[in-house]
């Protein structure tokens, strides 16, 4: 139960959702798009989210697709993580998504909701950053398709009234060797310390991280260091650590130094696991 009231709408089309948002904006009412809505509830409960209207996208057909279209695999933004896991069309995404929250919660948490979340982990974006996926966004200006690496800067850059509809990923990346590892403070449950996802395309290793900084990221500089085969592996990892964005998180889950210690080992695991450590 949330401590504030809002109007609830469940539009059946993209246009209806956009029109609703604009109509509320004209009346100076704050609206929020949701799909799973878990963050509305968990953050709203403690007054970290407030809205006057909720626009629930989960009935919109374009947001529910999960299919191959030509050479691309398309995921709708309102698919639950459980549905993505059970179907398992993109194994790296399955593995990364399966470490989010817990199984029951993943039946409510959606792909778009996780990628656009306020909570900084947003792990399900990692496979799409690695796979140079395309994102489809709609808003008052119509449909926009853009490479995710152009439009995801710490978070998905959405303008007012825009929302994520689909992500499309080239098959070549879906079939590539991958690794996804999540480290927690203790055992197999609890909040994440660091999540690393990696893909190997040819001889090149791609790495994306969540839980290290207050945003998920993929860094070309980090990857260039890891892929510099003129250096021994320890030097490659050292150079990669020197190229990390800042700040490094320092919180109850782990100090900055501890996170860097864990990451150093994770990067070794990734390079060895993908056969790139020689």
């Amino acid at each position: 139960m949330l401590p504030f009231d809002f109007d609830y709408y469940k539009p059946a089309s993209l246009k209806e959702a956009i029109d609703l948002y604009q109509s509320k904006a004209r009346n100076r009412e704050k609206s929020m798009f949701i799909s799973g809505g878990t963050e509305l509830i968990t953050l709203g409960r403690i007054n970290l989210v407030h809205t006057e209207a909720v626009i629930d996208l989960k009935d919109i057909a374009e947001c529910k697709v999960m299919q191959f279209e030509g050479d691309y695999l398309v995921f709708g933004s309102t698919l639950t993580l459980t549905k993505i896991e059970e179907t398992n069309l993109f194994p790296l995404l399955t593995k990364t998504a399966s470490e989010v929250a817990d199984h029951t919660s993943r039946g409510k948490i959606t792909l778009g909701g996780n990628i656009c979340a306020q909570i900084f982990y947003r792990e399900t974006v990692l496979p799409f950053l690695l796979a140079d996926s395309q994102v489809m966004i709609v808003g008052p200006d119509g449909v926009k398709v853009a490479p995710i690496n152009d439009i995801f800067k710490e978070q998905l850059q959405l303008k007012n009234g825009e929302f994520l509809v689909q992500l499309a990923t080239d098959k070549r990346f879906i079939e590539a060797p991958y690794i996804s590892i999540k480290r927690r403070q203790q055992w197999d449950t609890g909040y994440p310390l660091i999540t690393v996802a990696a893909l190997k395309m040819g001889e090149e290793v791609r790495v994306a991280l969540s839980g290290l900084c207050p945003f998920p990221f993929r860094s070309k500089k980090v990857e260039d260091s890891l892929n510099n085969r003129e250096w021994p592996i320890n030097d490659r990892v050292d150079a990669a650590l020197a190229e990390l964005p800042r700040p490094i998180l320092n919180d109850v889950e782990g100090s900055s130094d501890y996170r860097l210690f864990v990451l150093r080992n994770l990067l070794h695991d990734v390079l060895e696991g993908l056969g790139a450590s020689f």
Partner: protein
């Protein structure tokens, strides 16, 4: 206060309730329908004490708005009658204080229906969604495995 009248399918019955859009399903089934089997715990989606079944899948009812449940089939612990997993919980002493029990049973019930041949990894993955503060995990595991083995 912004309220609306909605129809909920709960335990095979159509129930009409007046809710705020901001009311969770947990609040509605307990406070409006008097079905107090689903327990309020963390109210944050962490503990699983409020787990019910929505269209065959486990759902933490604190993470769902009542209004989102319109058109779906909701089953609470009160809707289960003499199921194998309930009997197995008794036979395996799979509870102590009992507060987490309805949530565990609803999750186990869904697991058995969705994955009647569930392996250890699947059982662990599903049951990590619930917390037992009495740490009765071994007995709960025995209970769910005893039903799966009968399958």
């Amino acid at each position: 206060m912004k309220t609306q009248i909605i129809d909920l399918h709960v335990n095979g019955n159509l129930r009409t309730v007046t809710v705020r859009s901001a009311d969770t399903l947990l609040y509605a089934i307990r406070g409006k329908l008097g079905l107090t089997g689903a327990k309020p715990g963390c109210l944050n989606g962490d503990c699983g004490a409020c787990t019910v079944n929505v269209d065959g899948w486990p759902m933490k009812s604190c993470l769902m708005l009542a209004i989102e449940a319109v058109g779906k089939n909701v089953t609470t612990i009160e809707g289960l009658k003499n199921t194998p997993i309930q009997q197995a919980f008794i036979e395996n002493f799979a509870f102590q204080c009992g507060y987490c029990t309805p949530g565990f049973i609803m999750n186990c019930h869904s697991l058995i229906l969705k994955h009647p041949d569930a392996d250890d990894a699947t059982i662990k993955e599903w049951l990590e969604s619930n917390i037992c503060r009495c740490t009765g995990y071994t007995e709960i595991e025995k209970a769910v495995k005893s039903v799966l083995e009968k399958n």
